[in-house]
């Protein structure tokens, strides 16, 4: 049984259906990419897993627990944390305080120093700016902080929503490299990206979402060489 299993969920915004029978899974140790165009339902999928929205039908099971009706502030305690779209930092808190907010739901704070050191070694820029207010960081630094904050929660599954959006190419490289580094430490990642080629390069498996439905799935390499994906998402 997979770590995260989503089965046939329907999600609505009011009367507008955003997800139609979405089924996907993430196994331990995997990077799974979710690609698709704007409005396909990628962010909605992550918001639903996080409990910010709830499916009308279908199930979400994680680590043996049913999560489809679990409230958002409980989901992080079960072990899922995300770096949300638009980063959503606490702009008037320092870098350090933002990282500490990531530990809010943790019961075990014994390895706090190691965790901070780990985030700072992944993102040395954050260490330089530890006392700076998050709202004054550059876009790339904010993205690093958002990922760092999610890591501080000690999740069993890390979800990243558009981590490369709006970043300079060199920073995009950095972010994707760090994703593979984090995954190499054993962290499963569910990655939502518009930058399909980069995401498929580092993903073990991937799903293609179109207007609320999964239309294609396979390994990252398979999808990279799929003519449909190439035409629609890779601009070939």
């Amino acid at each position: 049984m997979a770590l995260l299993e989503i089965s046939k969920i329907d999600v609505f915004y009011g009367r507008v259906q955003a997800l139609r029978g979405v089924t996907l899974s993430v196994d331990a140790g995997e990077i799974v990419a979710l690609i698709g165009s704007n409005g396909a339902g990628k962010t909605t999928t992550l918001r639903t897993i996080s409990g910010l929205m709830h499916p009308t039908t279908g199930t979400i099971s994680f680590d043996g627990r049913q999560l489809q009706q679990t409230k958002a502030h409980e989901v992080v305690r079960v072990g899922i944390c995300q770096s949300p779209e638009g980063r959503r930092l606490f702009p008037r808190m320092t870098v350090f305080d933002n990282l500490m907010m990531g530990t809010y739901a943790r019961k075990d704070l014994s390895r706090l120093q190691d965790d901070i050191a780990n985030v700072y070694s992944l993102f040395p820029r954050l260490k330089e700016r530890t006392k700076q207010l998050a709202g004054t960081l550059s876009g790339g630094e904010q993205q690093m902080l958002a990922i760092g904050r999610a890591l501080m929660a000690h999740p069993k599954l890390l979800m990243l929503d558009e981590p490369s959006l709006g970043l300079a190419p060199i920073l995009v490289e950095t972010i994707f490299r760090v994703c593979t580094d984090i995954n190499a430490q054993g962290m499963p990642i569910l990655l939502v990206e518009q930058n399909a080629s980069k995401a498929l390069e580092i993903a073990h498996r991937a799903y293609v979402l179109e207007t609320g439905s999964i239309v294609q799935t396979g390994t990252g390499k398979e999808l990279l060489s799929s003519p449909d994906v190439q035409r629609a998402y890779l601009g070939m």
Binding site: S50, E74, V76, R88, L89, F90, P91, M93, G102, Y104
Partner: protein
């Protein structure tokens, strides 16, 4: 929050870059200078001891407004609601503590002993707790069901809750001013010809302790951090595992216990209360919160102190009939020149 404020500020920024902006700035400084010169001549004419006396009243008065203003600013900060009922929670505190005093053996003309101090602490504690519970109930019944409604709905509801509470207080003690037992001894000490009484010290002391206590609470504690995080980004706070409903309820509770302490002190200090006290005092305290930069607790504390002091100084040196005009003129000036208030947010939101 602050997106409208930011937009306004940006427009103002453009305007201020021009010569017109410099003239406006100059006008503000000129107005302040004229006021200070007027005050200065009065102070010199009436002597230092009178000034010191007024200053004592002014700081005590400002302390009470600061305590009320904190509740407005905290609630606004976390759910962007102007809780019009907050002033009435303050008035409820004044009414309730007035009724509690005799129950705890505190009567006008009685001797004030060490036991009286404990009794007074109990009155403070019970009043603060009751105000807290009242405000939590208001949030639960009137505001929470409207959390996702358009912003006007909870605002109008808050006005309704305010009228409801004033109605309750009206039924409780009638339409006219109600005497509040004068239990604090008139003892005091003289300094340069001015008398600083036990009441002044009580109000100033308790206000300072509560404001510092709140600042430490919000800055250091887990719940305080949850409150700040929720105020800055509610979805992000949820994703970090913060229980939003509990945090918002706690904010209403803490704002109200400060108002409860303020209401008790208002009664002890001025020895009077009236059913619509919450309207007049609430309006001034709300002005103080906006003046200081709504959403910012330090701003509310400073705003309350400053507005309370302006009120007392104007009452003392000029015609008190004009006091409200002066206070709201200052509010308008501040909103023209600094739309985000004195300590309004200067950090970009995103």
């Amino acid at each position: 929050m602050g997106t409208i404020g930011e937009a306004v500020r940006r427009r103002r920024g453009g305007l201020r870059a021009g010569a017109a902006g410099r003239i406006l700035d100059f006008a503000l400084i000129a107005i302040i200078a004229i006021f200070l010169i007027l005050l200065g001549t009065k102070v010199v004419a009436q002597g230092g001891s009178f000034f010191l006396q007024i200053l004592t009243f002014a700081v005590a008065n400002g302390g009470i407004y600061a305590l009320i203003a904190l509740g407005y600013t905290m609630v606004y900060g976390i759910i962007e609601l102007i809780n019009f009922a907050h002033g009435d929670v303050f008035a409820f505190g004044a009414f309730l503590s007035a009724s509690l005093l005799p129950i705890f053996g505190l009567r006008e003309g009685g001797t004030f002993t060490a036991g009286s101090v404990i009794a007074l602490l109990a009155v403070f504690g019970l009043t603060m707790l009751s105000c807290g519970i009242l405000n939590i109930s208001i949030e639960r019944i009137a505001y929470r069901p409207l959390r996702h409604a358009p912003r006007l709905a909870p605002l109008i509801t808050a006005v309704g809750v305010s009228f409801f509470l004033e109605g309750v207080l009206f039924l409780w003690k009638g339409p006219s001013n109600v005497h509040y037992a004068n239990i604090i001894p008139n003892a005091g000490f003289e300094i340069f010809g001015a008398t600083i009484g036990a009441k002044d010290l009580l109000v100033i002391g308790v206000s300072i302790v509560l404001v510092i206590g709140l600042a430490l609470f919000v800055d250091r504690t887990r719940l305080g951090k949850a409150m700040r995080a929720t105020a800055q980004d509610r979805d992000a706070a949820l994703l970090m595992g913060i229980d939003i409903d509990r945090t918002i309820a706690a904010t209403f509770f803490i704002g109200a216990i400060l108002a409860g302490a303020g209401g008790t002190m208002y009664g002890l200090y001025y020895n009077t209360s009236v059913f619509d006290l919450g309207f007049s005092a609430g309006l001034v305290a709300f002005t103080a919160a906006v003046f200081g930069g709504i959403g910012n607790i330090y701003g509310a504390a400073i705003g309350g102190l400053v507005i309370g002091m302006i009120q007392s100084f104007w009452d003392g040196y000029f015609d008190s009939a004009w006091t409200q005009v002066v206070i709201f003129t200052i509010l308008i000036l501040v909103l023209i020149f600094r739309p985000t208030g004195l300590l309004g947010m200067r950090v970009p939101e995103k």
